[in-house]
């Protein structure tokens, strides 16, 4: 979902005559935290079923990762869109924390997903998620929004994801259009040569 959002934002950025120059400069404060928490997530995700200890602690680790992530977002809150990203992540974090570290997924909405995936969630195998039940608290913050055709990839997302993606969209737009020459500059470049001053 996040990657789709980034791709969409970049395409819109190009349509608005933006560029990717900003990638040459350091983007964030404490930017190195970001790949580290990403790697931790992937490692836990892949090995939690092999290593039982990791499986036991995975919920705690995910919550820890979220806290670090939120801290990182807070450090960079001056960037455009980061307040929205923070709100989105926070909403996801709240619903996960209150439900034992796992994101509740609505079964109703998930009927559009691959049945294998559902099975995995039901059996508790599948990393970050858990099935939404009667006892789930703040269920409306969970993964309840089905996204399906005509969208190319079926998925179920939460309102936190939506808000986060809007934030990411604003952030990328802001960065891509920052160095865009203004209308005046374009005109003055055209006028050079043959004009007085």
């Amino acid at each position: 979902m996040v990657y789709d959002g980034i791709l969409f934002a970049i395409i819109v950025g190009f349509i608005r005559k933006g560029n990717l120059k900003f990638l040459t400069e350091p983007l964030f404060r404490w930017g190195w935290i970001f790949p580290i928490i990403l790697i931790i997530q992937i490692l836990v995700f892949n090995f939690q079923n092999q290593l039982p200890i990791l499986g036991e602690w995975s919920n705690t680790i995910f919550i820890f990762v979220y806290i670090v992530g939120l801290f990182f977002l807070w450090l960079n809150r001056k960037n455009a869109g980061f307040n929205l990203i923070m709100i989105g992540v926070l909403l996801n974090f709240i619903v996960m924390a209150i439900n034992g570290g796992r994101m509740p997924v609505s079964e109703e909405a998930s009927t559009i997903l691959d049945p294998m995936y559902m099975e995995a969630i039901k059996n508790g195998f599948y990393g970050k998620h858990a099935l939404l039940t009667e006892s789930t608290r703040l269920a409306f913050l969970g993964d309840i929004i089905p996204i399906t055709s005509p969208y190319p990839r079926d998925q179920v997302i939460s309102i936190g994801d939506v808000i986060m993606n809007i934030g990411i969209f604003f952030f990328i737009q802001d960065k891509m259009l920052k160095d865009k020459p203004t209308e005046e500059e374009i005109i003055s470049m055209q006028l050079k040569g043959g004009e007085i001053k």
Partner: protein, 581 residues
């Protein structure tokens, strides 16, 4: 459950999220309409569509969440206004809901069967909304409740109906295609908002161009007159006495500057002066305009003539100290202007008179050696009345052949006016205007056909109207010569009555210039005592009694009484003496 915040099922939540999102977008993308500040928001359509489809709870939930988020987002608006809006919407929605149910409306889907219920809902929604908004303005701005209601009905009814009908359209869309229908609605609304914004900015820029003077960036002549007229009307209606002053400024020796430095430099001076004026007037909220070539006017609300004088003097000093290339060639060696200032009073005849007097004061300032400011009415010697007695008498002689009555009447009124003016101790200027005005006050009768003037029987209504026209014709005759400008009010307004029942305008009391009120008394007295084809003659005593009776209705009581005193003293005394002997 009633009383629970939040939507009932997870499916409702998904719908709710979408609706809240669209509502927020529509808060932001309103459709702007001229005049400035007017706009049409589509959010009402969403709340009503929710009401018809899902019921009151759902609708209020969407309202609550979107209002909450919006109040965090839009911090520039005071929280109390957010709260007010939220409460207003809540009251409107709840009352609409119960009216809808009362008319047997069924919640669920948009259906033709509910037509009357929809209509009733729209009516009550509009009614409650108007009431709340009017009450708000009534409390906050002390405007009259009915006035605001009336303005709302006139200005916004169409846009209102648009939103209300759109709520049904949105209802249909959502009913048949859910979130997709909502998305379609959102896209159309947002695009409309963008398009209207473009039109609106186009409208604004064209409007600015039409009202602005291109060179100086000030308002132009036409727009200034518009504002002046509005202000004039306003001043006449307001009973509280707030002063209003105006200054007319003319750059000294601008022709010399232009001739010796070229028009480019001259334009530069105008631009520079415009900038200074804008800067100074901005602080005080004054209206400043370029009146003509190098003439500028400033309209100063809530400012007395003395305050205006200080303000203009301050600008004059600043201009004197501003160096511009080529200024050495001017007689003073610096930029300067002469200004005339006038303060509004109830006797002011019309905006043109206001401007003329400011202009006269400005010329007086020029005569005093330029580079100074003069307040109208503070002249050391009276402004010269250039109209000459001989010339006016020549014009009056034209009447001699046609209407001997009016000719003689005019001569007598002239005589009374000279004496009465002395008796009243008017100043030299007023005395001269009064006597000259008295001489020509009926000059307009030249235009009245002979058969009407010399008719011995009773005049028909139509003929009367023609006779009444003589004041307007008189004004036109007198106006031809600019030097007679000060006589115009006397000629045109000497048939106005103190109680406002006169003609041509029906002006009242102090709205009629003082001299015209005096002339009215003299004119009527002479008319009553003279033999006329269409009127019986009264004796002097009868006429004086009539003056006394009509003091305060037809005549200004002060001048009517004064005239009776004057007449008794000058003419009746002699008769009394004779009778006593």
């Amino acid at each position: 459950m009633v009383g629970d915040i939040g939507f009932q099922s997870l499916y409702d939540w998904i719908m709710g999220y979408a609706l809240i999102g669209v509502t927020l977008l529509l808060f932001k993308y309103v459709i702007v309409l001229p005049p400035k500040g007017n706009s049409l928001s589509m959010d009402t359509a969403i709340f009503l569509a929710c009401l018809f489809l899902f019921g009151i709870e759902f609708s209020l939930n969407v309202l609550l969440f979107s209002s909450l988020i919006y109040s965090f987002y839009e911090k520039r608006i005071n929280w109390s206004k957010h709260l007010f809006n939220f409460s207003a919407y809540t009251i409107m929605l709840i009352s609409t809901y119960y009216v809808f149910l009362f008319f047997n409306g069924t919640i669920g889907s948009i259906n033709f069967i509910n037509l009357f219920a929809y209509l009733a809902s729209f009516l009550i929604y509009f009614f409650v909304n108007s009431l709340i908004i009017s009450t708000y303005f009534w409390i906050s701005d002390k405007k009259s409740l009915i006035g605001v209601l009336d303005g709302m009905l006139k200005g916004t009814l169409e846009s209102y109906v648009v939103t209300l009908v759109l709520s049904l359209v949105l209802g249909y869309l959502m009913d048949s295609s859910g979130v997709f229908g909502l998305a379609l609605f959102a896209v159309i609304s947002i695009l409309l908002s963008i398009v209207f914004k473009q039109y609106f900015s186009l409208y604004e820029s064209v409007k600015t161009k039409a009202n602005m003077d291109h060179l100086t960036g000030l308002y132009n002549h036409g727009y200034f007159k518009e504002i002046l007229n509005e202000k004039f009307e306003e001043m006449k209606q307001i009973t509280i006495n707030k002063p209003l002053s105006m200054a007319m400024l003319d750059i000294d020796d601008f022709k010399i500057f232009n001739d010796s430095n070229g028009h480019m430099k001259g334009d530069h001076v105008l631009t520079l002066f415009g900038e200074i004026l804008i800067e100074k007037c901005k602080e005080k909220d004054y209206v400043v305009a370029r009146y003509g070539g190098e003439e500028f006017v400033i309209l100063m609300p809530e400012t007395t003539e003395n305050q205006a004088n200080d303000f203009i003097e301050c600008i004059r000093k600043e201009l004197n100290n501003t160096y511009v290339d080529g200024v050495e060639r001017l007689p003073y060696g610096c930029l300067s202007f002469s200004a005339g200032i006038i303060e509004w009073n109830i006797e002011m005849y019309n905006p043109t008179e206001f401007l003329t007097h400011a202009d006269q004061a400005m010329y007086y300032a020029k005569e005093q050696g330029k580079n100074n400011t003069h307040i109208y009415g503070h002249e050391f010697e009276p402004l010269e009345i250039t109209a000459s007695l001989e010339e006016l008498e020549q014009q009056l002689k034209l009447l001699l052949a046609k209407d001997i009555y009016t000719y003689r009447h005019s001569k007598r009124v002239f005589k009374f006016a000279v004496e009465f003016g002395k008796y009243l101790l008017l100043n030299e200027q007023d005395k001269k205007i009064l006597s000259l005005g008295a001489l020509v006050h009926d000059i307009g009768k030249l235009e009245v056909p002979r058969e009407i003037i010399n008719k011995t029987g009773k005049l028909t209504a139509e003929e009367w109207n023609t006779v009444k026209q003589h004041v307007t014709w008189g004004r036109e005759i007198i106006q031809v010569d600019k030097k007679n400008a000060s006589l115009v009010p006397l000629v045109e307004l000497h048939h106005e009555r103190f109680d406002g029942k006169g003609y041509p305008y029906g002006k009242k009391a102090e709205e009629i210039p003082k001299l015209a009120r005096i002339l009215c008394v003299i004119d009527s007295f002479d008319a009553m005592t003279t033999e006329r084809p269409y009127q019986k003659t009264k004796s002097y005593n009868d006429a004086l009694d009539e003056l006394r009776d009509c003091a305060g209705t037809q005549f200004d009581p002060f001048y009517a009484t004064a005239f009776i005193d004057y007449f008794n003293k000058e003419y009746m005394q002699v008769e009394e003496d004779i009778t006593t002997i």
